[in-house]
Amino acid sequence: MTDRPTPPNPEDTPPESQRGGADPMEWLASLARRRSQTPAEPSAEEQSAESASPETVPLRQTSIFGRAPRGIPSPPSPPSSASSAATYRFGSPASLGARPPMGASSPASETPENTPPRPFGLFGGLFGQRPAPRPNTDSQNVQDQDAAAEMLAHLTQTLQNYEQHSPAIVRHALSGLGKVGRADEHLGLVAHFLDSAWEQSVRLAAVSALGNLGGETAIDTLIGLLNDADIVIRWEAQEALDKLLTAPEDQVEPPVRKAEAPPAAPHPEGDARADATSF
């Protein structure tokens, strides 16, 4: 068994009408034209995120076609497919529960002054005095946002230190980050793994994660991937775009439905004509 996924069978490919029209670039262009006519005001959250994070590109200023989306840093020289399999290390001491330097992911309540020393993250204080139980509105619940932040940081740290890990670990981290990450914070990290030097399975996971993270920068990146040399990546990018653009029906008109022909009026001769032309 190899790590590389099997390319989709052309016979399994849905008809063009179910994939968003005969030419995906065409409907995306029409979508872009429509958007440029009715720009939405950025929400307060988006505005604050833009001002807080210098790495984040103002969402409304990106061009859809013609260049790499802004706000996504260049990939940090990803390894070649051959070397990626040969250089990772499992269970390296450095990777065992080390607390990552992820200031952005730390809970807002933690400051250097009040953060208790935790030599290896969530598990660091286990041999010490057990801390007093925190107030919890539901005694059945284990709500621990510090721990959740730690889990998220574990994912980002894994991706930042990708050279220590196997492609399978990187794939799983990308998948997890796609599900729980934030577009304005993690898009750049995910985008590193789109580079063509990465093996296909890693790129696929990154494309899928982009689709889950969403946001206009992700859309721009995915559109760029529709021209990728790898057909499997092109296919996955289109799937992600379909999902991204059709899910919130109140925001974007589903391109799939737009491309579909309107239901035909009943033929005056009833079903007889259909019977006559079917074999």
Partner: protein
């Protein structure tokens, strides 16, 4: 399959040397005292699972430690060492709780595989393995596995055995040194059973967790527990390499042992590693020769397939070990348990003008000292253990192993392996301790957090969106 899950189930012997006039605690009481100490340190009440993802429980008179799912042989060797260190760390508190309950004496925990009454307890190995290959169905693939792996298993004692004084289950067959502790208890080539019929290759419990999808759990019961992490790494890692070869159908030209069980017994009783093992085709080979044939196959495989840094390290160690066994076994002192133990026992005999060939050695008073050292070698308490005393004389005062530094072992005592589902299990346990929330670890592949069920089917999945959502806002992800 490029990556696989490795795990071990290590059973520890527990005993209590009571002071005169005081009662003896039962084995169950001893294990309960350890469990209590462990729960206080890194566990949860009423749960056998602990924050490093492992499971600790009482099993038929022994303390059993089922290690968390690990992603590599090196990692499982580390967690095995961490379990030993944790036992030693918690020994004083367990002893204190026994004293409070009225038991006075000394609590001993030994990591060996046989007691003086002739009972054996195992160090079972678990490997995630493919159920079938592209060309072979499950049954045919099993036949192929047995054919090609049994000669390796029968001879691998030379790489990783712990050494034992006494021949036969109760020592009734003679007073001599042998490599393996469980070798005399192996009586079948293949078995499903783990108690009466003990096979070199076990077919039982293949559907237990981490056998998701197209994978099975390959459960080996013939192994001995190693004090040395080097031995554990070689034991688990070399077998993992051979599974790769099998899964890629790249194994061949392996000799067929005429009687694998007898061959294993012969290897165990031959510290010179020169015993000739009869083959089906009439030839004879030593255990080192058989191992070299496997190593050659692995080297050829590694030229054609990508290998990890760890696998390349493992191949190098395997090769060095075979060379040393043939030319200078003393180079393996501190690394291979049976060589380390034997060198100390040999010195004791020599200093008394004796040898293993001395007639009636079993009637000589020195036999008690030899038997005592044999057990003391496996004591998990570094202040009492012969293994740790020897290691520290060689490596420094704080050394715990030749492979791992003290800090790595310390981290692994409380933190789970970072890249398997054990990480998720450990996270909810550590979190529940901090928040006093309710967590149940129902099984290896299921946790309940605040009454909500989270399934952890994929043993490689080190992140669970549902668990994250529960911890973050108390609700399952949609």
């Amino acid at each position: 399959m490029r990556e696989r899950i490795f795990s071990l189930e290590t059973e520890y012997g527990v005993s209590f040397l009571s002071e005169k006039g005081t009662s003896d605690p039962t084995k169950e009481t001893l294990v309960s005292a350890l469990r209590h100490a462990l729960t206080e340190a890194i566990g949860l009440n009423e749960s056998m699972y602990i924050a490093n993802g492992a499971k600790f429980y009482h099993d038929v008179g022994h303390a059993e430690w089922a290690h968390p799912e690990c992603r590599s042989a090196r990692e499982i060797a580390l967690y095995d060492k961490a379990a030993d260190a944790l036992m030693a760390l918690l020994l004083p508190s367990a002893q204190e709780s026994l004293r409070v309950d009225g038991f006075r004496g000394r609590f001993l925990i030994v990591k060996n595989n046989v007691d003086v009454h002739g009972n054996t307890y195992g160090c079972h190995e678990n490997y995630m393995a493919e159920r079938e290959t592209a060309w072979l169905d499950h049954e045919d693939y099993l036949r192929l596995s047995i054919r090609y792996l049994v000669p390796f298993l029968a001879t691998r004692l030379i790489l990783c055995a712990p050494g034992r004084v006494g021949l036969g289950r109760r020592g009734e067959q003679g007073f001599a040194f042998q490599l393996g502790q469980r070798a005399d208890f192996m009586n079948a080539v293949v078995s499903r059973d783990t108690r009466d019929m003990r096979g070199l290759f076990n077919l039982g419990r293949e559907n237990e967790p981490f056998s998701e999808g197209g994978y099975r759990r390959l459960h080996l019961i013939l192994g001995d527990a190693c004090m040395s992490g080097y031995g554990t790494f070689l034991k688990v890692g070399t077998f993992g390499l051979l599974l790769r070869l099998l899964e890629d159908l790249e194994i061949g030209a392996i000799p067929h042992l005429k009687d694998p069980v007898r061959a294993m017994h012969a290897v165990s009783r031959d510290p010179s590693c020169t015993a000739l093992l009869p083959l089906y085709d009439g030839r004879q080979m030593t255990a080192i020769d058989v191992q070299r044939l496997y190593l050659e196959q692995v080297l050829r495989y590694a030229e054609r397939y990508p290998t990890s840094e760890e696998e390349r390290e493992l191949i190098g160690l395997w090769s060095e070990t075979l060379d040393a066994l043939q030319n200078a076994p003393s180079r393996l002192f501190g690394k291979i348990d049976w060589i380390t133990k034997k060198s100390v026992l040999d010195r004791l005999l020599t200093s008394n003008g004796l040898s293993w060939d001395t007639p009636d050695l079993d009637k000589h008073p020195i036999r008690y000292k030899l038997q005592e050292l044999d057990i003391q070698y496996h004591n998990v308490d570094p202040t009492q253990s012969l293994f740790y005393k020897l290691l520290r004389s060689q490596q420094g005062a704080d050394a715990l192993d030749t492979l791992w530094d003290v800090e790595s072992v310390r981290i692994a005592q409380a933190a789970p392996p970072p890249y398997t589902r054990a990480r998720v299990r450990g996270e909810v346990i550590a979190s529940a301790r901090r928040t006093s929330g309710r967590v149940e670890v129902k099984n290896w592949n299921e946790v309940r957090v605040g009454g909500q069920r989270v399934e952890l089917h994929d043993p490689f999945a080190f992140f669970s969106p549902d668990t994250y959502a529960l911890l973050n806002d108390g609700k399952l992800s949609s």
